[in-house]
Amino acid sequence: MAQSYRIETGGLINRNKKISFKFNGVTYFGYDGDTLASALLANGVHLVGRSFKYHRPRGFFGAGVDEPYAVVQLYRNGETEPNIKATEQELFEGLEASSVNCWPSVNFDIGAINNFLKIFLPAGFYYKTFMWPKSFWYKIYEPFIRKAAGLGVASTKHDKERYEHKYEYCDLLIAGSGPSGLASAYSAAKNGAKVILAEDKPRYGGSLLTSDVNIGNQSGKDWADGIISELKEMPNVTVKNRSQVFGYYDHNMLVMSEKVSDHLPETKKYHPNKRLWYIRAKEVLISSGSIERPIVFGNNDTPGVMLSSAAKEYLKVYGVLVGKKPLVFTNNDSGYETAIEFKKHGVDPIVLDSRSNPQSEIIDEAKNLGINIKNSYVVVAAQGYKKVKSADVATISEDKKTLGKIENINCDCICVSGFWTPTIHLASQSGNKTKFNEEIDAFVPGVSKQNETTLGAANGVFTLEETLKTSFEKGKELSKKITEKDNEVSIPNVVEKKYSKHDKFWCVPLPKGKSYKRFLDFQNDVAVSDVEIALREGYRSIEHVKRYTTLGMATDQGKTSNLNGLQLVSEIENKVVPSVGHTTFRPPYTPISIGAIVGREVGKHSKPTRKSPIHNWHEEHNAVFVDAGVWLRPRYYKRGNETLIEASKREAKNVRTNVGVCDVTTLGKIDVKGPDAAEFLNRVYTNAWLKLPVGKARYGVMLREDGIVMDDGTTTRISENHYHMTTTTAQAANVLSHLEYYLQLVWPELNVNVVSTTEQWAGAAIAGPKSRELLQKLFPKTDVSKEGLPFMGYVEGDLFGVKARIFRISFSGELAYEVNVESDNGRFMWEKIIELGEEFKIQPYGTEALSTLRIEMGHVAGSELDGRTIPYDNALEGLLSKKKDFIGKRSLQRAAFVAEDRQRIVGVVPLDKKTSIPEGSHLVKDANAPLPNKKLGHISASCWSVEHDNPFSLAILKDGKNMIGEKLFVMSPLKNKVIPVEIVSSHYVDPKGERVRS
C-alpha cells in the first residue's frame, strides 16, 4: 500500500530503510525511525481502537506519552504485550499489532451499542444499577462488564525476556533532554559533576525537534545534536534515550525505566528487554516540558481530532500529514505554528482562533503566507463517525457564552490547541507544594521538599531565551555546590518568535437543542455531563469526583484531561481552580512493565538457594528435595517406584531398628563467646545455664518478651568462654538479630560476642540403636562408650585425619549423635559414615522421616512453635526456671497464659487406625453441630507412626491436659474429611525417654 499521507521529503526518518508491519492483519509499509502511529497515519489509517465505555471509534490524539487513545496489543518475537501506546512504539521489521477493546473488529464493534444507550451509562451508573439483586453481581453483572470493558489481554505464557535492575549514584539527574535539560546538563558537566541525562523518546532535543528557532546561529535541532554529541564524549556524563524517569521517591531516589530492546524485532543475546535504574541523585533537575491541552467541544473524540502539537510533530519529525484539509482550532499562538507547517508543505489549513483580534509576529507570518484565519470562531462539533468529515463551527461572543449561526466546514482533521500544561508530575511526587499560575492557567511547582528544581516549560516558562538562560545558570550553580568548580559557559544567542497572550477559554458551549458528548477524559469516556452529574449528586472533593467519574484514572493518567476537569469543577462550583486543587500525582508517570519492576527476581531467583556441602551426594543418590527456609534439603531418597510415604516409612523404620544418617547442616549455628557468655545464655534461655560444665550440651527454649516461644535448640559449652548454639533452620537469622539486640542495646555491659557459624560447619545426625557401634568405627581413637560419651555429652574426635565435633544429642528419640566437621570436609564425612555404616545397614533419611521420628516422640518443632504458643502449650514448662529472670518471663503471668483450661500439646490417633489426618484440620466435639462449629484445637503435624504402624498426629488442644482419652472429631472442610479420633499423650513412643539415654 502506498504511504499516501507521507510528504516527499523532510522529517527525521530514514527513507532508505523501508519497513513492513502488520496492523489488524493488514500489511503496511513505513520507514526506519517511524513510530507505529506515524507509520499508520502515513498510510491514512486513523481508526485504531474503541473507547472504554461507549466503544466509540478512536484514532490518534497525541504523538507521545500523553496519548489517550492509541493503545494496541503488540506481538513481537512470539510474545504479546497489551496496552502499548502506538505513539511510543518504534517501528521494526515484522512488527504486528492489533486493536484492543473491540469485538468482533475495530470497524464493527458490537459494544458500540453502548453509545446509543449512553443516557443509561452516565457517571456512577455501575455503582447505582448493579447493586441489586446482590446475588447477580458475581454471576451476571461482573463477568459481562469485564468482557465488555477493559483494554488489552495479558500474555499467559512464561515471559522469556530478561529484565535488569541497576543502582546508580550521581550529582545531577536531569529528566528530559529538551532545551532546559540540555543547557543545564551542559553547564553542570563542564563543572565536572556526575550527570545523568534521561530522555524518554528515541530522539534527544524535546521541543527543539519541532520548533522553528535559532540557537547560536544554528537551528534548534542542530544545536541540540551538537550538545548531545559533546555530552556523550564526557566521561562524567551518562546520556540515555528511551528512558523514562517515572517515579520520584524519598531521599532523592528516582526510578527510571530504560527500554533497551522494545524498538528491535527481538532482544539481542545477553541484553535485557528493559532496565530499571534506581538513581540516588544529589540534585534533580526536572526538564520534562509541557503537554498541549485540548479545547473541549462536541464529538471531540472523533478520529481525526488531535492536538495541534502532535500534528506538527508528525509533519516535522516523521514527514506525515495527519490530513489534507486541516482545520486548526486554537486559543493561542501555538496553533499557528502547525498551520504554517501545513502551508509550507502545500496544504491549505483554516485557522479558527477563539480570540477576537490577536496580534503577534507569528500571526503576521501566517497572514503573509495567505492562511485563512477566522477570529472569534470555535468548533462546535466534529462531524463524521469513524473519521472527521467536517466541522460545525460558529462565531462566539466575547464572554464565550453565546454561539453565532452554525456553519459547516469541510475538513479531514481538527488540530486543537488549548495552550500548554507544564508536566509537574515528578515535582509533585517529590513532595513539592505546587501552585496555580494565573498567567498560564495551570499548576507549576512551588516550594521544594527535596533537592529538586524544575526548569523551562515544566516550570511554566515558555520562552526559549529565558529557559536557556535559567537552565545554564541552574546547572552551573548546582554543580558548583557539589564539585566546587566554576567554569564559565557562554550562553548562545536565541532567535525565536514572540507569542501573544492566550485566551482563557477551554470549553465550547453546547448549541441550543444539541446534546453532543463533549469529552474531558478520552480514554475513560468521561464527558462534561458526567462531571456535572457527580457535582449535582453532591461530590465536592476533586478526589471524589475523580473516583466517581473515573476522570483521569485511565492508563494515560489524565495527562490531557486533568486540568480541563478542574476547570469544569471550578466553573460549576464557582471557585477558582487553586482552591479546587488537583488530585495527587503518584508514580509511575506512565505505565511500567511488571517484568521491569520484578527484574531478575523471578522463578528460582526469587530467593537465594542454599545447598549443603553434601548436596551433590544427595543428588547422586536419588534425593527428592524440599524447600526448607532458603535451603534445599533431601525430603526422601527414592528407591525404585517408591512413593513419598513408602520411602519415609522405610527410612524412619531403619532408624528405629538399625541406624540412619541425616544431613543437618542447615541447622542454625551461632558461636557465643566471651567471659559473660554463661550469664547471657542464662538470660536468653528459660532454663538455668550457669552451671553447665565444659563438654556438655543442654536443650534450651528462648521466648520473646511477650512470652511466646521464639525458638529451641541445644547449646554446647565447647570451652570455658565458648558456647556453640544451635537454632532451628527457619529461625537462624531471627535468633541472631535477637541476640544482637540484647547485647548491643539492653545489656551492653555483658562482654559477649555472637557470630553466625551456620555455613562453617557441615553436620550429620547418626541415629538408631546401632549408632554407637558405627560411631566407634568412625572414631576408633575416641571413647564413645555409654560412660565415655553420655547423653548430652560432647567430645572432639579425629575422623581419619579430619577434626570433628561429636555431640550426643537426639531429635529422633533414638540413641543418636551429631557429628560436625568444617564444611569443606562435609562430603568426606558423609561418605565415611555411609561406607562404615554399611555393615549396620545404614540408610540416609530425609526431612519426611525426620518429621515422622520427632512427631511420634512428641518433640516439638516449627509447626508447634508457630509464634502463638507459650512453653506450657508445648509441655515445656519444666524448663522454666523459678530461680532466675529471663526474657519474656514476666509475660507468663498474664491471665490467659495461666488459665486452667489453657491449650496444650496432645497426640491424636484415628479410631480406625487407618485414616491419615490432614495437617491444619480442626478438632471439634461434635461433627454434626451446626455451623459455626466450635473449634477446640488444631492438628499441627501428622505422620504414619512406624513404631505402631498407624497414623499419628500432634495437636494443640484446649484444656489438652485433661483431654487424654477423650473421643473427638477431626474436621477438614478443605479435604472434605471428618475423622473420629482419640486423644492420647503426645509421647507416643518411649514416653520415659529411655532410648536416648541407653
Binding site: H251, R280, D706, Q744, L745, R890, S891
Partner: protein
Amino acid sequence: MLHIKCPHCGMRSQNEFSYGGDATVKRPELNKEVTDQEWDNFVYNRVSPRGKHLELWQHLSGCRQWIKVERDTASHEIFKTYKANEEIA
C-alpha cells in the same frame, strides 16, 4: 527508599536495614518487680507520633549494628543517627 546514615558505615539504602521500632522504650531491669501496667507498656503499648520519632534500625546487611534514627514519620526526613549507646542530644 530511605537513605540512612549508619554511624559505622555511612550513607546506605534502606534495603540494607531492618526496622526495630520505638527506641525510647526501656526494658525493665531483670529481677525487678513490675506491675502489669508497667510490663504492658514495655511489651505492647507504643505511641505512634506524627513527626519526630526516635527509632531503632539494624544495619542487617552491613555491620549488623543496631542504631538509633531520629526520623520524621510524616516527611521521612532523617535528622540524625546515633550508635546504639550514644548519648542522645
